[in-house]
Protein backbone atom coordinates (compact mmCIF):
# COMPACT_ATOMS: atom_id res chain seq x y z
CA UNK A 1 0.00 0.00 0.00
CA UNK A 2 1.30 3.36 -0.94
CA UNK A 3 0.64 6.12 1.50
CA UNK A 4 1.71 9.70 1.67
CA UNK A 5 3.57 10.35 4.90
CA UNK A 6 5.65 13.17 6.23
CA UNK A 7 8.66 10.86 6.12
CA UNK A 8 10.07 11.45 2.64
CA UNK A 9 13.29 9.55 3.08
CA UNK A 10 13.97 6.76 0.58
CA UNK A 11 11.96 3.66 1.38
CA UNK A 12 15.01 1.41 1.14
CA UNK A 13 17.64 2.00 3.85
CA UNK A 14 15.38 4.43 5.60
CA UNK A 15 16.51 3.54 9.10
CA UNK A 16 14.28 3.63 12.15
CA UNK A 17 11.05 5.62 11.95
CA UNK A 18 11.33 9.29 12.92
CA UNK A 19 9.13 8.95 15.96
CA UNK A 20 11.35 6.24 17.43
CA UNK A 21 14.51 8.30 16.84
CA UNK A 22 12.80 11.30 18.38
CA UNK A 23 11.76 9.47 21.53
CA UNK A 24 15.16 7.79 21.95
CA UNK A 25 17.07 11.04 21.59
CA UNK A 26 14.60 12.95 23.79
CA UNK A 27 15.07 10.40 26.57
CA UNK A 28 18.82 10.59 26.02
CA UNK A 29 18.86 14.37 26.41
CA UNK A 30 16.71 14.29 29.55
CA UNK A 31 18.95 11.58 31.01
CA UNK A 32 22.00 13.70 30.16
CA UNK A 33 20.52 16.75 31.88
CA UNK A 34 19.70 14.80 35.03
CA UNK A 35 23.11 13.12 35.05
CA UNK A 36 24.90 16.43 34.49
CA UNK A 37 22.96 18.08 37.27
CA UNK A 38 23.01 15.31 39.88
CA UNK A 39 25.97 13.01 39.33
CA UNK A 40 29.67 13.48 38.81
CA UNK A 41 30.31 10.55 36.44
CA UNK A 42 29.28 12.67 33.47
CA UNK A 43 32.28 14.97 33.97
CA UNK A 44 34.45 12.62 31.89
CA UNK A 45 32.03 12.82 28.95
CA UNK A 46 31.98 16.59 29.33
CA UNK A 47 35.79 16.65 29.35
CA UNK A 48 35.88 14.87 25.94
CA UNK A 49 33.26 17.17 24.51
CA UNK A 50 34.95 20.32 25.76
CA UNK A 51 38.18 19.08 24.20
CA UNK A 52 36.29 19.19 20.89
CA UNK A 53 34.89 22.64 21.69
CA UNK A 54 38.27 24.12 22.69
CA UNK A 55 39.60 24.71 19.13
CA UNK A 56 36.33 26.44 18.20
CA UNK A 57 36.50 28.72 21.21
CA UNK A 58 40.14 29.56 20.63
CA UNK A 59 39.45 30.06 16.91
CA UNK A 60 36.72 32.58 17.69
CA UNK A 61 38.98 34.39 20.13
CA UNK A 62 41.97 34.48 17.76
CA UNK A 63 41.01 37.30 15.32
CA UNK A 64 40.22 39.60 18.25
CA UNK A 65 43.53 38.81 19.90
CA UNK A 66 45.38 39.29 16.60
CA UNK A 67 43.73 42.68 16.15
CA UNK A 68 44.74 43.72 19.67
CA UNK A 69 48.29 42.62 18.97
CA UNK A 70 48.37 44.39 15.62
CA UNK A 71 46.95 47.67 16.87
CA UNK A 72 49.32 47.45 19.83
CA UNK A 73 52.41 46.86 17.74
CA UNK A 74 51.78 49.73 15.33
CA UNK A 75 50.84 52.29 17.98
CA UNK A 76 52.42 55.56 17.00
CA UNK A 77 55.57 56.87 18.56
CA UNK A 78 54.17 60.03 20.12
CA UNK A 79 51.57 58.05 22.00
CA UNK A 80 54.18 55.65 23.29
CA UNK A 81 56.31 58.60 24.38
CA UNK A 82 53.41 60.22 26.16
CA UNK A 83 52.52 56.94 27.85
CA UNK A 84 56.15 56.51 28.84
CA UNK A 85 56.34 59.96 30.45
CA UNK A 86 53.10 59.43 32.27
CA UNK A 87 54.13 56.00 33.48
CA UNK A 88 57.50 57.28 34.69
CA UNK A 89 55.73 59.97 36.69
CA UNK A 90 53.34 57.43 38.11
CA UNK A 91 56.16 55.03 38.93
CA UNK A 92 57.96 57.77 40.86
CA UNK A 93 54.84 58.37 42.90
CA UNK A 94 54.35 54.64 43.40
CA UNK A 95 57.96 54.22 44.56
CA UNK A 96 57.41 56.96 47.08
CA UNK A 97 54.38 55.17 48.41
CA UNK A 98 56.23 51.88 48.29
CA UNK A 99 58.78 53.14 50.79
CA UNK A 100 55.98 53.73 53.23
CA UNK A 101 54.49 50.43 52.27
CA UNK A 102 57.68 48.56 53.13
CA UNK A 103 57.57 49.97 56.65
CA UNK A 104 53.91 49.12 56.94
CA UNK A 105 54.52 45.64 55.63
CA UNK A 106 57.22 45.06 58.24
CA UNK A 107 54.91 46.28 60.92
CA UNK A 108 52.11 44.18 59.57
CA UNK A 109 54.26 41.06 59.52
CA UNK A 110 55.35 41.63 63.10
CA UNK A 111 51.74 42.02 64.18
CA UNK A 112 50.73 38.94 62.26
CA UNK A 113 53.58 36.94 63.75
CA UNK A 114 52.42 38.03 67.14
CA UNK A 115 48.99 36.66 66.39
CA UNK A 116 50.50 33.59 64.74
CA UNK A 117 48.18 33.94 61.82
CA UNK A 118 49.79 34.18 58.46
CA UNK A 119 47.05 32.31 56.67
CA UNK A 120 44.66 33.85 54.23
CA UNK A 121 47.31 35.50 52.09
CA UNK A 122 47.68 34.48 48.49
CA UNK A 123 50.54 32.02 48.14
CA UNK A 124 50.62 31.64 44.42
CA UNK A 125 48.91 33.47 41.60
CA UNK A 126 48.55 32.66 37.93
CA UNK A 127 47.65 35.20 35.28
CA UNK A 128 44.89 34.01 32.94
CA UNK A 129 43.38 35.70 29.89
CA UNK A 130 39.66 35.93 29.29
CA UNK A 131 38.69 34.29 26.01
CA UNK A 132 36.65 36.51 23.70
CA UNK A 133 33.65 34.22 23.67
CA UNK A 134 30.05 35.12 24.50
CA UNK A 135 28.64 32.37 26.70
CA UNK A 136 25.17 33.62 27.58
CA UNK A 137 23.91 37.20 27.58
CA UNK A 138 21.93 36.67 30.76
CA UNK A 139 24.57 35.10 32.94
CA UNK A 140 27.68 36.78 34.18
CA UNK A 141 30.22 34.15 33.19
CA UNK A 142 33.51 34.16 31.33
CA UNK A 143 35.89 31.56 29.96
CA UNK A 144 39.58 31.62 30.95
CA UNK A 145 42.43 30.19 28.91
CA UNK A 146 43.79 28.16 31.85
CA UNK A 147 42.40 24.81 32.90
CA UNK A 148 43.07 21.57 34.73
CA UNK A 149 46.48 21.32 33.03
CA UNK A 150 47.57 24.48 34.89
CA UNK A 151 46.24 23.21 38.23
CA UNK A 152 43.05 25.24 38.23
CA UNK A 153 40.41 23.73 40.52
CA UNK A 154 36.68 24.13 41.00
CA UNK A 155 35.83 26.86 43.52
CA UNK A 156 39.13 28.68 43.04
CA UNK A 157 39.07 32.42 43.72
CA UNK A 158 39.67 34.75 40.77
CA UNK A 159 40.87 38.33 41.36
CA UNK A 160 41.87 41.26 39.24
CA UNK A 161 44.10 44.21 40.10
CA UNK A 162 41.32 46.09 41.87
CA UNK A 163 39.41 43.43 43.76
CA UNK A 164 37.58 40.13 43.73
CA UNK A 165 36.37 39.03 40.31
CA UNK A 166 34.65 35.67 40.79
CA UNK A 167 35.21 31.97 41.27
CA UNK A 168 35.81 28.98 39.03
CA UNK A 169 32.68 26.89 38.38
CA UNK A 170 33.80 24.43 35.74
CA UNK A 171 37.28 23.18 34.95
CA UNK A 172 38.02 21.76 31.51
CA UNK A 173 41.38 20.57 30.23
CA UNK A 174 42.52 23.87 28.73
CA UNK A 175 39.83 26.28 29.83
CA UNK A 176 37.88 27.15 32.95
CA UNK A 177 34.49 28.79 33.38
CA UNK A 178 34.29 31.57 35.94
CA UNK A 179 31.14 32.90 37.57
CA UNK A 180 31.49 36.63 38.29
CA UNK A 181 30.51 38.06 41.66
CA UNK A 182 27.78 39.97 39.81
CA UNK A 183 26.01 36.81 38.53
CA UNK A 184 22.51 36.47 39.97
CA UNK A 185 23.46 33.09 41.44
CA UNK A 186 26.56 34.30 43.24
CA UNK A 187 26.85 35.49 46.83
CA UNK A 188 29.96 36.50 48.73
CA UNK A 189 30.38 37.22 52.46
CA UNK A 190 31.70 40.75 52.98
CA UNK A 191 32.54 43.14 55.78
CA UNK A 192 32.48 46.92 55.81
CA UNK A 193 35.98 48.34 56.15
CA UNK A 194 34.76 51.30 58.21
CA UNK A 195 32.21 49.87 60.62
CA UNK A 196 32.99 46.16 60.55
CA UNK A 197 29.39 45.23 59.72
CA UNK A 198 29.28 41.75 58.19
CA UNK A 199 26.79 40.82 55.50
CA UNK A 200 26.44 39.04 52.16
CA UNK A 201 26.71 40.65 48.74
CA UNK A 202 24.56 38.99 46.10
CA UNK A 203 24.91 39.49 42.34
CA UNK A 204 22.07 41.00 40.33
CA UNK A 205 23.05 39.94 36.83
CA UNK A 206 24.45 43.40 36.12
CA UNK A 207 28.21 43.87 36.16
CA UNK A 208 27.97 47.31 37.77
CA UNK A 209 25.82 46.36 40.76
CA UNK A 210 25.74 44.03 43.76
CA UNK A 211 22.83 43.86 46.15
CA UNK A 212 23.11 43.57 49.94
CA UNK A 213 19.71 42.13 50.81
CA UNK A 214 20.35 41.24 54.46
CA UNK A 215 21.18 44.64 55.91
CA UNK A 216 18.84 45.82 58.67
CA UNK A 217 17.65 49.42 58.72
CA UNK A 218 19.72 50.19 61.84
CA UNK A 219 23.04 48.76 60.62
CA UNK A 220 25.93 51.14 60.15
CA UNK A 221 26.58 51.29 56.39
CA UNK A 222 27.07 54.47 54.38
CA UNK A 223 27.50 55.31 50.72
CA UNK A 224 31.20 55.06 49.91
CA UNK A 225 32.00 52.31 52.44
CA UNK A 226 34.48 49.79 51.09
CA UNK A 227 33.37 46.15 51.43
CA UNK A 228 36.14 43.61 51.97
CA UNK A 229 35.95 39.85 51.64
CA UNK A 230 35.76 38.10 55.02
CA UNK A 231 37.03 34.74 53.83
CA UNK A 232 34.27 33.05 55.84
CA UNK A 233 33.21 30.59 53.15
CA UNK A 234 36.82 29.50 52.65
CA UNK A 235 36.57 30.27 48.92
CA UNK A 236 37.91 33.82 48.81
CA UNK A 237 41.01 35.09 50.60
CA UNK A 238 40.02 37.54 53.36
CA UNK A 239 40.73 41.27 53.25
CA UNK A 240 40.46 41.89 49.51
CA UNK A 241 38.18 44.69 48.26
CA UNK A 242 34.89 43.48 46.76
CA UNK A 243 32.70 46.54 46.21
CA UNK A 244 31.96 50.09 47.29
CA UNK A 245 28.50 50.97 48.56
CA UNK A 246 26.74 53.13 45.98
CA UNK A 247 23.22 53.39 47.35
CA UNK A 248 21.58 53.08 50.77
CA UNK A 249 17.84 53.55 51.10
CA UNK A 250 16.16 53.18 54.46
CA UNK A 251 12.41 53.07 54.86
CA UNK A 252 11.28 53.47 58.45
CA UNK A 253 8.60 50.83 58.09
CA UNK A 254 10.85 48.16 56.56
CA UNK A 255 13.09 45.69 58.38
CA UNK A 256 15.77 45.66 55.73
CA UNK A 257 17.46 48.59 54.04
CA UNK A 258 17.89 48.69 50.28
CA UNK A 259 21.64 48.67 49.74
CA UNK A 260 23.54 48.44 46.47
CA UNK A 261 27.28 48.37 45.89
CA UNK A 262 29.53 48.78 42.89
CA UNK A 263 32.19 46.07 42.40
CA UNK A 264 35.73 47.41 42.58
CA UNK A 265 36.99 44.86 40.04
CA UNK A 266 36.42 45.93 36.45
CA UNK A 267 34.09 43.05 35.68
CA UNK A 268 33.14 44.16 32.19
CA UNK A 269 36.49 45.52 31.06
CA UNK A 270 39.10 43.03 32.25
CA UNK A 271 41.18 41.10 29.74
CA UNK A 272 43.47 39.46 32.30
CA UNK A 273 42.65 38.12 35.72
CA UNK A 274 44.54 36.35 38.51
CA UNK A 275 43.86 32.84 39.71
CA UNK A 276 44.77 32.61 43.39
CA UNK A 277 45.95 29.77 45.59
CA UNK A 278 45.85 30.51 49.31
CA UNK A 279 45.64 28.72 52.64
CA UNK A 280 42.13 29.07 54.01
CA UNK A 281 42.04 31.11 57.22
CA UNK A 282 42.16 29.32 60.56
CA UNK A 283 38.58 29.89 61.56
CA UNK A 284 37.40 27.67 58.74
CA UNK A 285 38.71 24.74 60.79
CA UNK A 286 38.34 26.40 64.20
CA UNK A 287 41.78 25.24 65.30
CA UNK A 288 43.00 27.80 67.86
CA UNK A 289 41.08 29.59 70.60
CA UNK A 290 40.84 33.16 69.43
CA UNK A 291 39.63 32.49 65.89
CA UNK A 292 37.32 29.76 67.17
CA UNK A 293 35.65 32.35 69.37
CA UNK A 294 35.34 34.66 66.41
CA UNK A 295 33.86 32.07 64.08
CA UNK A 296 30.44 31.45 65.73
CA UNK A 297 29.95 35.18 66.14
CA UNK A 298 30.79 35.68 62.51
CA UNK A 299 28.42 32.94 61.38
CA UNK A 300 25.50 34.16 63.47
CA UNK A 301 26.31 37.66 62.33
CA UNK A 302 26.13 36.67 58.70
CA UNK A 303 23.03 34.60 59.33
CA UNK A 304 20.99 37.18 61.20
CA UNK A 305 21.76 40.18 59.09
Amino acid sequence: MVELTHDSRPIIGRGPPLGATFITLAIASIALMVADQRYDQISRVRAWLTAAAYPVQVGVDLPFRAWDWLSGSIADRSRLRRDNLELTARLRLANLQLQRFAVLEDENRRLRDMRERTQGVAERVLVASILNVDLDPFRQRVLLDKGAVDGVFKGQAVLDGAGIFGQVTKVNAGTAEVILISDAEHAIPVQSNRSGVRTIAVGMGDSSKLSLPFVTVESDLKVGDLLLSTGLGGVFPPGYPVAKISKVKRAASATFALVEARPTAELDRDREVLLVWFKPPVFATAASDAPAAAAPAAQTGAGSQ
Binding site: L4, H6, D7, S8, R9, P10, G15, L18, T21, F22, L25, A26, A28, S29, I30, A31, L32, M33, A35, D36, Q37, I42, V45, R46, L49, T50, A52, A53, V56, Q57, G59, V60, F64, N132, V133, D134, L135, D136, P137, F138, R139, R141, L143, K170, E177, A184, E185, G205
Partner: protein, 160 residues
Protein backbone atom coordinates in the same frame (compact mmCIF):
# COMPACT_ATOMS: atom_id res chain seq x y z
CA UNK B 1 22.53 12.87 -8.53
CA UNK B 2 24.85 11.15 -6.08
CA UNK B 3 27.36 13.94 -6.48
CA UNK B 4 24.82 16.61 -5.67
CA UNK B 5 23.52 14.68 -2.66
CA UNK B 6 27.07 14.56 -1.38
CA UNK B 7 27.55 18.30 -1.95
CA UNK B 8 24.31 19.05 -0.15
CA UNK B 9 25.33 16.94 2.78
CA UNK B 10 28.61 18.87 3.04
CA UNK B 11 26.74 22.17 2.75
CA UNK B 12 24.31 21.09 5.45
CA UNK B 13 27.04 20.14 7.89
CA UNK B 14 29.11 23.21 7.14
CA UNK B 15 26.24 25.70 7.47
CA UNK B 16 25.07 24.28 10.79
CA UNK B 17 28.66 24.27 12.06
CA UNK B 18 29.06 27.90 10.98
CA UNK B 19 25.84 28.73 12.84
CA UNK B 20 27.28 27.10 15.97
CA UNK B 21 30.48 29.15 15.74
CA UNK B 22 28.45 32.33 15.23
CA UNK B 23 26.56 31.49 18.42
CA UNK B 24 29.62 32.29 20.54
CA UNK B 25 31.26 35.07 18.49
CA UNK B 26 31.44 38.14 20.73
CA UNK B 27 28.88 40.84 19.91
CA UNK B 28 28.39 44.27 21.44
CA UNK B 29 26.35 44.13 24.66
CA UNK B 30 23.21 45.69 23.18
CA UNK B 31 23.21 43.21 20.30
CA UNK B 32 24.00 40.10 22.32
CA UNK B 33 20.42 39.38 23.53
CA UNK B 34 19.08 39.75 19.97
CA UNK B 35 21.49 37.16 18.52
CA UNK B 36 19.40 34.84 16.29
CA UNK B 37 19.79 31.07 16.62
CA UNK B 38 21.45 30.63 13.24
CA UNK B 39 22.37 26.98 13.76
CA UNK B 40 18.75 26.07 14.51
CA UNK B 41 17.49 28.10 11.54
CA UNK B 42 19.99 26.26 9.33
CA UNK B 43 18.70 22.93 10.62
CA UNK B 44 15.10 23.93 9.87
CA UNK B 45 16.04 25.21 6.41
CA UNK B 46 17.83 21.98 5.47
CA UNK B 47 15.03 19.78 6.76
CA UNK B 48 12.61 21.71 4.54
CA UNK B 49 14.80 21.61 1.42
CA UNK B 50 16.45 18.20 1.78
CA UNK B 51 14.53 16.07 4.28
CA UNK B 52 16.34 12.97 3.04
CA UNK B 53 19.67 14.35 4.16
CA UNK B 54 18.85 16.32 7.27
CA UNK B 55 17.80 13.88 9.95
CA UNK B 56 17.24 14.16 13.66
CA UNK B 57 20.62 12.77 14.74
CA UNK B 58 22.76 15.60 13.44
CA UNK B 59 20.31 18.21 14.77
CA UNK B 60 20.54 16.62 18.21
CA UNK B 61 24.34 16.48 18.05
CA UNK B 62 24.48 20.15 17.03
CA UNK B 63 22.36 21.07 20.03
CA UNK B 64 24.62 19.02 22.28
CA UNK B 65 27.69 20.77 20.90
CA UNK B 66 26.04 24.13 21.55
CA UNK B 67 25.55 23.08 25.18
CA UNK B 68 29.24 22.29 25.41
CA UNK B 69 30.32 25.51 23.69
CA UNK B 70 28.24 27.69 25.98
CA UNK B 71 28.86 25.70 29.14
CA UNK B 72 25.20 24.84 29.68
CA UNK B 73 23.72 21.72 31.21
CA UNK B 74 24.35 18.90 28.72
CA UNK B 75 21.21 18.02 26.77
CA UNK B 76 19.36 21.30 27.18
CA UNK B 77 19.83 22.78 23.72
CA UNK B 78 20.02 19.23 22.33
CA UNK B 79 16.42 18.65 23.42
CA UNK B 80 15.35 22.00 21.96
CA UNK B 81 17.00 21.25 18.60
CA UNK B 82 15.50 17.76 18.57
CA UNK B 83 11.94 18.93 19.20
CA UNK B 84 12.15 21.63 16.52
CA UNK B 85 13.73 19.24 14.02
CA UNK B 86 11.05 16.60 14.67
CA UNK B 87 8.21 19.11 14.29
CA UNK B 88 9.73 20.44 11.07
CA UNK B 89 9.95 16.89 9.72
CA UNK B 90 6.30 16.30 10.58
CA UNK B 91 5.21 19.58 8.98
CA UNK B 92 7.67 19.78 6.10
CA UNK B 93 5.24 18.72 3.34
CA UNK B 94 2.89 21.49 4.42
CA UNK B 95 5.55 24.08 5.25
CA UNK B 96 7.16 23.83 1.83
CA UNK B 97 3.90 24.98 0.27
CA UNK B 98 3.53 28.00 2.55
CA UNK B 99 4.20 31.50 1.18
CA UNK B 100 7.35 32.95 2.72
CA UNK B 101 5.66 35.13 5.35
CA UNK B 102 3.46 32.27 6.46
CA UNK B 103 6.60 30.14 6.70
CA UNK B 104 8.34 32.81 8.75
CA UNK B 105 5.40 32.86 11.16
CA UNK B 106 5.61 29.06 11.54
CA UNK B 107 9.34 29.33 12.16
CA UNK B 108 8.59 31.95 14.79
CA UNK B 109 6.29 29.52 16.58
CA UNK B 110 9.02 26.87 16.48
CA UNK B 111 11.62 29.29 17.82
CA UNK B 112 9.15 30.22 20.54
CA UNK B 113 8.79 26.56 21.47
CA UNK B 114 12.58 26.13 21.42
CA UNK B 115 13.12 29.09 23.73
CA UNK B 116 10.31 27.88 25.94
CA UNK B 117 12.08 24.53 26.34
CA UNK B 118 15.33 26.34 27.23
CA UNK B 119 13.45 28.64 29.62
CA UNK B 120 11.64 25.75 31.23
CA UNK B 121 14.73 23.59 31.77
CA UNK B 122 16.58 26.68 33.03
CA UNK B 123 13.81 27.13 35.57
CA UNK B 124 13.94 23.45 36.64
CA UNK B 125 17.69 23.70 37.16
CA UNK B 126 17.34 27.01 38.99
CA UNK B 127 18.92 29.43 36.52
CA UNK B 128 15.64 31.13 35.70
CA UNK B 129 16.14 34.50 34.05
CA UNK B 130 12.67 35.95 33.53
CA UNK B 131 13.42 39.22 31.71
CA UNK B 132 11.43 39.94 28.57
CA UNK B 133 14.57 40.26 26.42
CA UNK B 134 15.32 36.52 26.56
CA UNK B 135 12.54 36.11 23.94
CA UNK B 136 14.13 38.54 21.48
CA UNK B 137 15.91 35.81 19.43
CA UNK B 138 12.44 34.43 18.54
CA UNK B 139 11.62 37.70 16.82
CA UNK B 140 15.03 38.26 15.23
CA UNK B 141 15.09 34.67 13.95
CA UNK B 142 11.67 35.01 12.33
CA UNK B 143 12.64 38.33 10.74
CA UNK B 144 15.80 36.71 9.41
CA UNK B 145 14.01 33.67 7.97
CA UNK B 146 13.28 35.10 4.45
CA UNK B 147 16.96 36.09 4.18
CA UNK B 148 18.10 32.62 5.19
CA UNK B 149 15.80 31.01 2.63
CA UNK B 150 17.08 33.37 -0.08
CA UNK B 151 20.73 32.74 0.81
CA UNK B 152 20.24 28.99 1.12
CA UNK B 153 18.32 28.73 -2.17
CA UNK B 154 20.99 30.58 -4.11
CA UNK B 155 23.62 28.34 -2.53
CA UNK B 156 21.83 25.07 -3.36
CA UNK B 157 20.97 26.22 -6.88
CA UNK B 158 24.60 26.90 -7.69
CA UNK B 159 25.82 23.52 -6.49
CA UNK B 160 22.77 21.68 -7.82
Amino acid sequence: MRQSMFMRRILYWASVAAGLVLAIVPLPDWLDPVRPDLALLAVVYWILTSPRIAGLGYAWLSGLFLDVLRGMVLGQHALGFLVVAFLTHRLQLRMRMFPILHQAATVMLMLGLYHFIIFWTDGLIGHGYTGWNRWLPVLSGALLWPLIVAAGDSLTRRTG
